[in-house]
């Protein structure tokens, strides 16, 4: 019986795959149905995920098992409850308190994290001796790394007009950025194509059994 149920699942999966791909022709009812199922299922999935993986281990279990030791957790629980009040238009302003807490925490943590990992770490990584590299290729590479980083930063400096020597340096920064965007674009295409190959694998393997999945 399990095999039949699994086959039904595979057939549903194949139908949904075709329904989504049918959008390549044009928007149609099959696509709309699949799209709405996707929205509903995703929302439901994240709902359950949040309850089981965030709220139960971090709030409900500690509070229900040992309230006296975890009394402070009632504060975020209360703030979370206030957050849900956003759904009631008359009292939606109370959700500003949890939002302000979240914003304060996010701002404080981001400030420290980005200062440490992005600004200080990346700057110190760039401050290196390029001539200490083992071979010529690495030396050239490290010189490029230093030049690219500095010119890139200069490009992002918008408080001064990009003209003259400053503009030329910024232009070199743009070239480096373009190369990077090209590489990122290439990777994005490869990722999407590999997903497409995965779908074809599913259709030809799991569904039709023509190839071994």
């Amino acid at each position: 019986m399990t095999y039949i149920i699994e086959r039904i699942g595979i057939w549903i999966g194949a139908f949904l795959t075709f329904a989504i791909l049918s959008f390549l022709y044009k928007d149609n009812p099959f696509y709309k149905i699949a799209e709405q199922i996707f929205i509903g299922i995703s929302a439901g999935y994240w709902f359950i995920y949040t309850i089981y993986n965030i709220l139960i281990p971090n709030l409900f279990t500690p509070v229900l098992t040992d309230l006296s030791a975890n009394r402070l957790l009632l504060i975020p629980a209360f703030l979370g409850f206030l957050m849900l009040c956003r759904l009631i238009p008359k009292i939606d302003w109370v959700s500003r308190y949890p939002i302000s807490f979240v914003m304060g925490t996010t701002a404080g943590m981001s400030l420290i994290l980005f200062l440490r990992s992005d600004i200080i770490k990346q700057t110190s990584e760039t401050m290196m001796n390029p001539f200490s590299a083992p071979d010529l290729a690495a030396t050239i590479g490290q010189l490029i790394l230093i030049i690219g980083t500095i010119t890139g930063i200069i490009y992002f400096f918008f408080s001064k007009k990009h003209e003259g020597a400053f503009g030329t340096t910024a232009k070199v920064g743009i070239y480096f950025l373009m190369i990077s965007f090209g590489a990122a674009f290439g990777y994005t295409i490869m990722a999407r194509i590999s997903l497409l190959i995965g779908r074809l694998n599913f259709l030809l393997g799991n569904w039709l059994g023509i190839i071994k999945p």
């Binding site: 709405q36 709030l59 980005f114 690219g148 890139g152 190369i179 295409i189 490869m190």
Partner: protein, 231 residues
Amino acid sequence: MRRQFPLIITFFIGTLIVISEFIPHKPFGNLSDTFYGWFLIISGFAIILGQLNLFKVNLIKISRKSPNWRYYIIALVSFIIMVLFGLLWGTQKHPGLLTNTQPLIDFLGRKPFDYLFKYFFENLSATMFSLLAFFVASASYRAFRARSPESTLLLTSAVLVMLGRTTIGTWITGWVPESLTYLHLPNIANFIMEYLNTAAQRAIMICAGLGVVGSSLRIILGIERSYLGGK
């Protein structure tokens, strides 16, 4: 007071977290961890708020019979089924409200929530994202013209990285003699990724980091207050 008190909370919490980073002793020592735990709980509620809001919006659309309202019923039903299955029978790692789930698991091969995840969610999300492959290809065909030095660089690096990171790259330049290995496409792609790409990414990260620090300070000091809404 409806606006001032939230601003005070933001200032207080943000400042305490920054201070606790520089003074890792009592009473500041564990504040960062405590607030992070609270932050997790509140964001959990925020996620739930998002799902409930989706439910509410769909319900409103259906009740007002807005265009395509019948499709929103499907979204609602899918959402309800997924949540009910998750709550009643649990997930692969977590037990649900119902205790005797084994007969159903034996029948389906897995828990109902996991069954929906495997055959609905996985297929739908993978296909939805793979659909972008066609649109990206179509967009690049129209947009990728080597009209300027910048676009030529973008085009060249994208092609070199794609070729160098796949077997076709090795196949095309496999015949190049050993003394000229730096001309092998995989090596060129590696060089681009290791140096040229890293240089630009570093510049972006440093500047974005400065931007985040600036924005965080604006939020903590109450200069940026758009998150409180207009009322």
